[in-house]
């Protein structure tokens, strides 16, 4: 056993109504890559927040290099050599890389010196980064590099990484892993938070698994199968979704040579998009975040209009129709962002059921809302999709992410659409709810609907999709059958790694 760097003993933290962490103890060795594994809500974030000084534990203690360690705030953690890369980046789009790094420092050096240090560190660790590029122009993978380099400049002893690969292509993941292994060999410990089992098995020396706030196991992940790890994490036996084979039906949705300029200055414009979606088909669209997924969804939902004939539903042009007209014709969508886009946070579930159900479910007569009927609809969604809520009167924002996602997807599926377009359908949803949502989408397809799934989760796409395409810088690749497609091939479709100059294309 290597010398322990950080030891946690009996850490406990309660929030009103939940015991987020219950008596958690484990240790991280010097230079060890230690995985923290668990579903959403298992208590990973709370634990990490305690280590990083964002939350104080109710009970228990921590020892860092044999010294008592109780950081009152992140700056104290940083002084002790603990650094963290968050899942959501805190970067300013309109500033360049060096300026962003300087903003996070207590005593930033002159920008020119800092730029040189950024370049040195990024070259040492194989993370190419130009300190003078605007962050707004960087890909998600490059933004993550900014965050990592920002941490490395502090010369950390323990680097915490929260779900780092959720925004990366397979090739970018490889680069990241190489960096992490190099850090580990130089004696930096890494606490690696994830729910992606294969990654953990490939990278980590040791794994601590949390479930419902308790530690269920600490083990060597290379000695367990992914299935064993998953069952430890979920606490039950998982069944993969069923998918009977079926022939392709008629074309339901087609898009032809569509280019659309994004109205957001840092958005991605769609370039020459073409695809066809058939009845009974699940078309998976992969791509790293920010490559045009949002724009593609808005274009299909009718929130952004397009030239009439280039988008067709069952042969009819719909490019100039708004969201409700498209719903009436059988095309429904579920955007990625649940709170604020797919649902209004401060409205009840009943009121949110009306959001997309109004016309297609006949909930409105002569402009007047039939609230009783709307409530019945909301209840149907809640019951059928197992949304855990005290009732339909509850505000959308009071639901957990996974429950709200079940409600939102359930609402769209209950509209009995001919075509459904979903973006990140299981993002932030726990494993059992995710399996449920995927099964519901597959059921819809086998009932003859066309299903378009936009997702950054390759495992998910490979599980549900019949055919496959990838978005890269607003372009969509040709559609290929999903069967027999290797992860490497998909990675290349997604634009691959080493693409340090993708942004130059945008300027054409």
């Amino acid at each position: 056993m290597r010398q322990p760097l950080l030891r946690l003993e009996g850490l406990t933290k309660a929030y009103p109504g939940v015991l987020a962490n219950d008596d958690i103890s484990f240790q991280i060795g010097t230079g060890q890559i230690h995985a923290l594994l668990g579903e959403n809500g298992a208590g990973k974030s709370t634990l990490v927040k305690m280590i990083f000084g964002l939350v104080a534990p109710d009970k228990g203690r921590m020892t860092l290099r044999d010294q008592a360690y109780a950081p009152a705030q992140p700056s104290e953690a940083r002084q002790n050599g603990v650094a963290m890369v968050f899942q959501h980046f805190s970067l300013f789009d309109a500033l360049d890389v060096a300026e962003n790094v300087a903003l996070g420092m207590e005593k930033p050096p002159a920008l020119r010196d800092l730029a040189k240090r950024i370049r040195d560190v990024s070259e040492d660790y194989g993370l190419p980064l130009d300190p003078y590029r605007l962050v707004g122009e960087l890909s998600a993978g490059e933004r993550q590099r900014v965050e990592i380099v920002r941490c490395l400049l502090q010369d950390p002893k323990l680097l915490i990484m929260d779900e780092p690969t959720s925004v990366l292509t397979p090739q970018e993941v490889e680069i990241l892993f190489r960096t992490l292994r190099q850090l580990s060999s130089e004696g930096t410990s890494i606490l690696y938070i994830s729910h992606k089992l294969e990654e953990i098995r490939a990278l980590c020396d040791e794994a601590t698994i949390l479930r419902n706030g308790r530690k269920v196991a600490t083990c060597d992940p290379r000695e367990k199968s992914a299935r064993e790890l998953a069952e430890l994490m979920v606490g039950q036996v998982l069944t993969p979704p069923e998918r009977p084979a079926k022939p392709k039906g008629e074309v339901l949705l087609s898009v032809e040579n569509l280019s659309l300029k994004s109205n957001n200055p840092f958005g991605t414009s769609l370039k020459d998009i073409s695809f066809r979606l058939h009845a009974g088909e699940v078309l998976g669209i992969a791509g790293v975040a920010g490559n045009g997924q949002d724009e593609l969804l808005l274009m299909l939902s009718g929130e952004i209009l397009s030239p009439s004939g280039q988008v067709r539903l069952k042969g009819q042009p719909i490019g100039q129709l708004g969201p409700n007209a498209r719903r009436v014709r059988g095309l429904v969508t579920a955007p990625e962002e649940r709170l604020g886009h797919a649902a209004a946070p401060d409205m009840s579930l009943t009121a949110n059921a009306l959001l997309s159900g109004a016309k297609r479910k006949g909930l409105v007569k002569h402009g007047f809302i039939d609230w009783a009927k709307t409530d019945i609809f909301a209840h149907a969604v809640i019951a059928k999709f197992d949304v855990r809520t005290p009732g339909s009167h509850v505000l959308a924002r009071a639901l957990s992410g996974g429950n709200l996602q079940k409600f939102v997807i359930g609402r769209e599926i209950e509209l009995a659409p001919d075509v459904i377009v979903v973006n990140q359908p299981t993002w932030g949803v726990d494993a059992s709810a995710a399996a449920f949502i995927r099964q519901a989408l597959l059921d819809l397809a086998s009932a003859g609907a066309g299903v378009l799934v936009i997702s950054q989760d390759l495992d998910e796409l490979l599980e549900v999709a019949d055919s496959f395409a990838a978005l890269n810088e607003g372009r969509l690749t040709a559609t290929r059958p999903a069967k027999g497609l290797s992860v490497e091939a998909i990675g290349l479709m997604m634009g691959g790694a080493g693409d340090m100059h993708v942004a130059h294309e945008a300027a054409e």
């Binding site: 009152a72 604020g340 649902a343 946070p345 401060d346 997309s356 007047f368 505000l395």
Partner: protein, 361 residues
Amino acid sequence: MIRLEKRKEPSRFWRIANPFLAVLLTMIAGGIMFAALGKDPVAAIRLIFFDPIFSETFASYSRPQLLIKSAPLILIAVGLAIGFKANVWNIGAEGQYIIGALFGAGVALAFFPAPGWYIFPLMVIAGAFGGFLWAMIPAILKTRFNTNEILVSLLLVYVAERILAAMALGLMRNPDQPGFPGSRDLRRYEAAYNAEIFAGTGVHWGVVAALIAVIFAYAMMTRHMLGYHVQLAGQAPRAARFGGVSPARLVVICLGISGALAGLAGMFEVSGPGGQVRIEFASGYGFTAIIVAFLGRLNPFGIVLAGLLLGLTYIGGELSQMMLQIPGAAIQVFQGMLLFFLLALDFQTNYRIRLTKGARA
């Protein structure tokens, strides 16, 4: 150390309690202000808030006045509240009120002295149309050129005031009395006079219109798709677009409704209690209505209560001016304080104030 914590859900209790607390704090702060002016604070507060309704000496005059002052406030505030809920900020109701009055009076003066039952209804339509038209200027500028409706609608108040002055001195001046500024007195023109419906109560057609507007606004906000869209757009603009709401259409509708209602209020005022087009016709109802809308929690029935209260301060202000020689501006300070305290208190609807021991380094 004091820390602020965001509440998971806004507190219902404070939402209801804050307006009452704000009134109380305004009375206290107002009392201090009166004491500083060398007046008896208790007497002054009594004169403003209680005597207009309960004193035997003043009530016979003041009670009908209460409805006369409150009706335009309520009528305007109901319209403004709909817009505010959708995050469409019409601050220029005063201007729409003036233009509505000019349109209404214009119709009356054009028909003078002909009799006819249809003249008053025509004036009503013209008044609403005038306010609507004036509100369309910020609406179209916003939807076409993305200008800020707060600034445009506010600045148009001053334009409307200049037009009012020009009309009072020019086109609409009473030809029988050219030596005086101001139009004919509409109260003396039977076909155009917005008279009391029940003598001695202050109930004129504007009061009836305010009541109808309250009921319609309530039905619209709770039962109609338009009200749903208004709330969606205000709370979650992206969700509204997902729900098929066109933001531009909503801006036009919200400004249109609030403009038309403000125009109506102006028309009922000029043909009744105001009586004629005069330079000093505008009395700040359009601005006070903003306070009424917020004090009433943007809820139509809350607005009725808030409108009555603010109406009371107008009458009480006049009384205190008369009896205690308190400066007229004091009452505006009063109304301002009310909004100030309400907004400050509203902070605790969404946040919880926590006292923590010891400062954290």
